[in-house]
Amino acid sequence: MRDSSFPETNFAILSKIISLVANITYSEGELVSLLQSRDTLAFNYLYDHYATALYGVILPIVNEAEGANDVLQEVFLNIWRRIETYDPSKGRLFTWMLNIARNASIDLLRSKSFQNSRKNQPLSETVDWGNNYHVSQPDTATIGLHKLLEKLKEDQRVLIDLAYFKGYTHEEIAEIEGLPLGTVKTRIRNALIQLRNFMK
């Protein structure tokens, strides 16, 4: 019996090596240099690793699945095409991608066609739909990164929502809220420090 188990031992080693190769992980530097040399396997890894995190940022901003899908697609294509412009001295790869995702989401939110399609929706849907209106609109605004805001105090939450998820500048927020610019700045910074403490 000992003799017949002889080749099986090698199969065990073989499958272990294959699983190691399949689970290959890249350091951030390796990943960036592979992406810069247009390595599609590395891009595949990038997608598997970060698509969920980025979608969790896009969705609460865009607040609509169809638009969020378009943005995610655009974001990943931008990452692929503009990887040379990533500067490691300014921060981590994820931070760079996160900002691309947020900016693209806010761009869509601000675009005229998107706003028009959104304005039209409530008009047709509020006609006597009553409570159904709220049901039909899935609450995508409080998922992903936006979840963290739930723990903030009301006034802080409003400021972060306006600044981060709606993309208003501090000046615009000061105007909307009727507060001095300095107060807005300080409150936002304090709210961000609070948020950080809620993170793991």
Binding site: A53, V57, L72, S89, K90, T95, G144, I188, L192
Partner: protein
């Protein structure tokens, strides 16, 4: 404002999340360049943010991945020449051997190839081993068979040697039992030890007894047949000693039922000879 105060002012979070104004960002980048503490603190928050974003992430629809990958694939083919232009230049400038993931890919591929080759060799040797093992057990069984046959032959040879000894013994009376007219081809010989009176029988030529039958030796004493013992057919030609007979005029062999009869069956006599 000292460095620690600057770090804990919220500027790190504001900058990393993309909420800093142009002037704030410019100043922060300058501070990062000048102070490792600021850089490290920024990196710490970035890692925290990344972990958190992954933890609270939302799975995008599955179809999106293949859509995006196919667009990237097309894009990669369009820009393929760029790769080949950039790379040789890079390798010329950096003569150091760099261990990249590609190296590990090749290393893994090479080790898999080696492993497959070794597996094939193992199979080959294992088969060779099995063949040799089979041959060995065949040889072993034929050797055993030869040993068994040799033992039988030796027993036969011993038997013949004993018979030879008896014929050469001057104290041994030899009584030849030729075949009766119905069995003229058959023959047997009785060796009768004059000292011990033991009777031995040598079967020169008798047909094998049919199933359920056995040859029986008789001593004829004063015209009466006396049982001189049953002949064990299996024990070689020399049957010894059958019985102790003090006096006999003649000896005869008949074919009887297994175990023998008290009187010989008429017409069943094969051989007969006077002393």
């Amino acid at each position: 404002m000292n460095i620690q105060e600057y770090i804990s002012s919220g500027i790190i979070e504001t900058y990393v999340l993309g909420l800093a104004s142009a002037e704030e960002a410019e100043e922060f980048e300058r501070m990062c360049g000048a102070h490792a503490e600021v850089r490290n603190a920024r990196d710490l928050f970035e890692q925290q943010l990344e972990r958190n974003a992954i933890a609270v992430g939302v799975q995008p629809p599955r179809k999106l991945k293949s859509l995006i990958l196919s667009e990237v694939e097309i894009d990669a083919q369009k820009h393929a020449p760029r790769k080949s232009i950039i790379e040789p230049e890079k390798t010329e400038r950096i003569p150091v051997i760099r261990i990249t993931p590609a190296f590990w890919k090749y290393a893994a591929a090479a080790s898999i190839i080696l492993l497959v080759a070794s597996t094939i060799l193992n199979f080959y040797f294992f088969n060779q081993y099995k063949k040799t093992n089979e041959l060995y057990s065949q040889l072993l069984s034929s050797n055993n068979r030869l040993a068994r046959e040799f033992k039988i032959m030796q027993a036969k040879a011993d038997n013949y040697a004993a018979a030879m000894d008896m014929t050469n013994d001057s104290n041994m009376a030899v009584v030849k039992l030729p075949g009766v007219p119905e069995h003229s081809a058959n023959r047997a010989t009785v060796y009768w030890d004059k000292r011990s009176k033991d009777v031995y029988l040598f079967v020169n030529n008798l047909p094998a007894p049919p199933a359920g039958k056995q040859y029986q030796l008789w001593a004829i004493v004063n015209g009466q047949p006396v049982d001189a013992g049953m002949i064990n057919w299996e024990s070689g030609n020399m049957k010894a000693p059958i019985k102790n007979i003090t006096f006999a005029n003649a000896f005869a062999i008949t074919l009887e039922k297994e175990g023998g009869s008290s009187t010989p069956t008429p017409n069943a006599m094969y051989v007969f000879g006077n002393t």
